[in-house]
């Protein structure tokens, strides 16, 4: 079959297929960045726009696409796939769609490579632009940010659709016949998006385990400082970080099993305050989130490099044959024959992916609250004789039982289940560690917020926790309060407003009086209303 194709045509065709593959990847990835794309039309050909379409080239994406292709071209049995997935801030991920560029054996020998195939590939790219806005992942990608990010992965070889769940749909973008085979571009997309919420619940218990597994595979040595909190040495100081890393720094400290003073000092309000900006910083930009994805996916086949939309050098003209614009045709014939195919290096050589180090803490941030709690809890093990740590944020009258990541994996249950503030009144079955010397705390409502559950006092036995049987509150210390810091704190607020005065209308005396008065005034009121009945009718008419 190839013998029918002239060498020049074969060369042209290979080039077309190669750049078509690269442009396909660009279109798909750019459509999932979460931003509206806008490129300008130009009446004069610049020579750098393949297929007569203004599609910018994000260098990292091109680089990774070339890496995935590894010098090969999509061919029969060798498909190029772009997988789009979603990853939540809690670490759950889900494949959303897979775009496949495939080739089958059906050849169109008579087709003109240099013109017809080229134009049809251009048409196919336009169709891809249209279809990428139509699949469900587009809307999701436009809303990515705090709660989740969209990731991509390029791979070459066999198409893998198992991650799309049951009932996935397929849409064919288009086909282009060539003398060596028919190029097909299609998309398989997930329809069952409810999958994720169930997974989140299932994963609640071993969440620490997942984080451990997650980062074990990470090959990047320079990510050492970004390792999960449980790997960090205690009280390790690392300066010069951004806000994100600072908070992670703090939270890593809090995850350790270091002595209480060091741990609890990390659990300052300042730390908690810094958490929020950290979350914002890491999750605010789709670009960064793609970078973040890079970290996580490095353990998988390919990359997700940070896509620096703003920073990337789009549309590198590179060294082109300026003399020859993109497409030269001899009109009148069925296909004009381009006199020269543009030579387009197209590769703004990036030596390495930018490793957006600030992206990683996404995974850490959600873990922080529970981790911090466990850290404080770790300290609680040695607080038999110690008083309440001076920097306790929350002087709830309860304490954790075992430390995080201590050699008791069985106790690594969720914060909520361990931190039963009123565990004293809970069945003893919860007291897994019978040898824990700490006093059982009084129960508070089940904590949905891990933050709340994680902050606790030490040595609560001394701080006026009531004995289990006599529920006598010696000193009311509500959650999140710090008695010693502010004149008007939460505790004072509670006390003041705990017993609001009765509403006047609800007191018996007043109500009985007003009732009588009301009854007396009724006839008068009715008379007034009847007098104004015309007005009311007119009003009702205007409403219709």
């Amino acid at each position: 079959m190839d013998s029918d194709l002239s060498p020049q045509d074969k060369k042209d065709l290979d080039k077309f297929i190669k750049f078509f593959a690269l442009k396909t990847v660009q279109v798909i990835v750019q459509a999932r960045l979460g931003e509206k794309i806008c490129t300008r039309s130009s009446s004069s050909p610049t020579g750098s726009d393949w297929f007569n379409l203004a599609i910018k080239d994000i260098p990292e994406v091109t680089h990774e696409a070339k890496k995935a292709l590894a010098g090969q071209l999509p061919g029969i049995g060798r498909s190029m796939c772009v997988e789009i997935s979603l990853k939540t801030s809690e670490g759950d991920s889900m494949e959303l769609e897979t775009w496949c560029l495939e080739m089958n054996e059906k050849c169109d020998k008579d087709i003109k490579v240099s013109y017809t195939v080229y134009n049809r590939l251009s048409l196919l790219l336009k169709s891809l632009l249209a279809i990428t806005r139509v699949t469900p992942a587009y809307k999701l990608s436009r809303k990515q940010g705090h709660d989740y990010v969209i990731l991509y992965r390029i791979y070459f070889g066999e198409v893998q659709l198992t991650g799309l769940g049951e009932g996935f749909q397929t849409v064919r973008v288009g086909v282009v016949g060539t003398p060596v085979g028919t190029i097909t571009l299609s998309c398989a997309y997930r329809t069952n998006l409810a999958f994720m919420s169930t997974r989140q619940f299932e994963r609640t218990a071993p969440i620490m385990g997942i984080i451990i597994d997650h980062f074990v595979e990470r090959p990047f040595g320079n990510m050492g400082h970004m390792h999960p909190c449980n790997y960090r040495a205690p009280a390790e100081e690392e300066g010069g970080y951004t806000g994100v890393e600072d908070s992670q720094e703090v939270c890593t400290t809090s995850f350790s099993t270091s002595p209480p003073s060091q741990c609890v000092s990390a659990l300052s309000t300042a730390h908690l305050k810094s958490l929020k900006p950290a979350v914002m910083d890491t999750l605010k930009v789709p670009v960064m989130s793609l970078g973040f994805s890079h970290q996580l996916y490095c353990s998988r086949l390919s990359y997700q490099p940070p896509v620096l939309v703003g920073a990337a050098d789009f549309c590198h003209p590179s060294t082109l044959n300026a003399a020859n614009p993109h497409q030269m045709g001899i009109p009148g014939k069925e296909g004009g024959v381009p006199q020269q195919v543009p030579v387009q290096p197209c590769h703004a050589a990036q030596a390495e992916h930018a490793r957006a180090s600030s992206c990683l803490p996404n995974d850490h941030v959600p873990a922080v609250p529970s981790g911090s709690g466990e850290d404080a809890e770790a300290s609680s093990r040695s607080t038999d004789g110690k008083s309440v740590s001076p920097r306790d944020v929350m002087e709830t009258t309860f304490t954790r039982k075992v430390g995080a990541f201590v050699n008791k994996p069985g106790t690594q249950v969720t914060t909520a289940s361990l931190d039963l503030p009123f565990a004293a009144f809970a069945p003893r079955a919860y007291d897994i560690e019978e040898n824990d010397p700490m006093v059982q705390p009084p129960e508070s409502p089940a904590t949905s917020s891990p933050l709340q559950g994680s902050l606790h006092s030490q040595g609560s036995g001394e701080s006026g926790v009531p004995a289990q049987d006599d529920f006598v509150m010696v000193d009311f210390k509500p959650a999140f309060s710090k008695d010693d810091l502010l004149p008007m704190d939460l505790g004072t607020f509670y006390r003041e407003f705990q017993n609001p005065p009765q509403l006047a209308s609800l007191t018996i005396d007043v109500s009985s009086q007003s009732m009588a008065e009301d009854l007396d005034s009724l006839p008068e009121k009715l008379a007034v209303y009847e007098k104004n009945i015309d007005e009311f009718d007119a009003f009702v008419d205007t409403l219709q």
Binding site: P45, D49, N52, L53, A54, A130, H326, M328, P331, E334
Partner: protein, 217 residues
């Protein structure tokens, strides 16, 4: 040569008519526009670059891609606006926008040039009125999904790679392409519409056009 004819049907609320029509017409035109041709010596030509732009709809949960050409957008908006005005505001009704791609065939005097359509897209619109905001919200999403299906239909038809006019010589380019725009060059097209009132009778510009065409011949 047979003219290829495709029909798309959508049901929309009154205020969604504009955007729904724009979305579909622009999607079709995206595929039926090329860069500007620049003819050179020896009968060769180069083609300009077509840029694209994402457009979000305000009344429909939908985004579409159109050619980056303000001029073209203005022309299409004007036509769609006329269609919407003809449909009337706030009333139920049915209408149809036709986007017809044609070639001109020069005739000798006294006959005027012949317009030979090679592809006609008919977008049938059914306008409904909704009673409350909740229904409108549901309609917003449903129409968005429907438009997505229509875009897939359009792409499917276009990628059958059926008849397209041959690339013209410089002297004939105006018979195939609309060269009036500065930045892009769509195939010659015309947009017509007809309105069906609620009684189902056809009050149409089409009838008048048919008569006119017949007389012209």
């Amino acid at each position: 040569m047979n003219c290829r004819s495709e029909v798309l049907e959508v049901s929309v609320e009154g205020r969604q008519v504009d955007e729904a029509m724009l979305a579909l017409v622009h999607t079709i035109l995206l595929h039926r526009s090329t860069g500007k041709f620049h003819y050179k010596k020896e009968g060769t030509y180069s083609i300009g670059t077509v840029g694209t732009q994402d457009i979000d709809c305000d009344f429909i949960d939908f985004s579409f891609v159109r050619v980056s050409s303000d001029e073209l957008d203005r022309v299409i908006r004007k036509a769609v606006g006329e269609f919407k005005d003809a449909m009337g505001n706030g009333t139920d009704g049915m209408g149809q926008i036709s986007l017809e791609f044609y070639q001109k065939k020069k005739s000798r005097w006294p006959f005027s040039d012949e317009c030979i359509p090679w592809e006609v897209w008919s977008i049938k619109v059914n306008v409904v009125n909704l009673a409350n905001e909740q229904e409108r919200q549901i309609c917003r999403e449903k129409v968005g999904e429907k438009l997505g299906e229509k875009v897939i239909n359009i792409v499917e038809v276009i990628n059958r790679h059926e008849y397209l006019p041959k690339m013209p010589t410089q002297s004939e380019v105006d018979n195939v392409f609309d060269t009036s725009l500065k930045d892009v060059q769509p195939y010659l097209y015309k947009i017509t519409f007809q309105i069906t009132d609620t009684l189902g009778t056809s009050v149409s510009t089409t009838m008048r056009r048919l008569i006119k065409d017949t007389l012209a011949l």
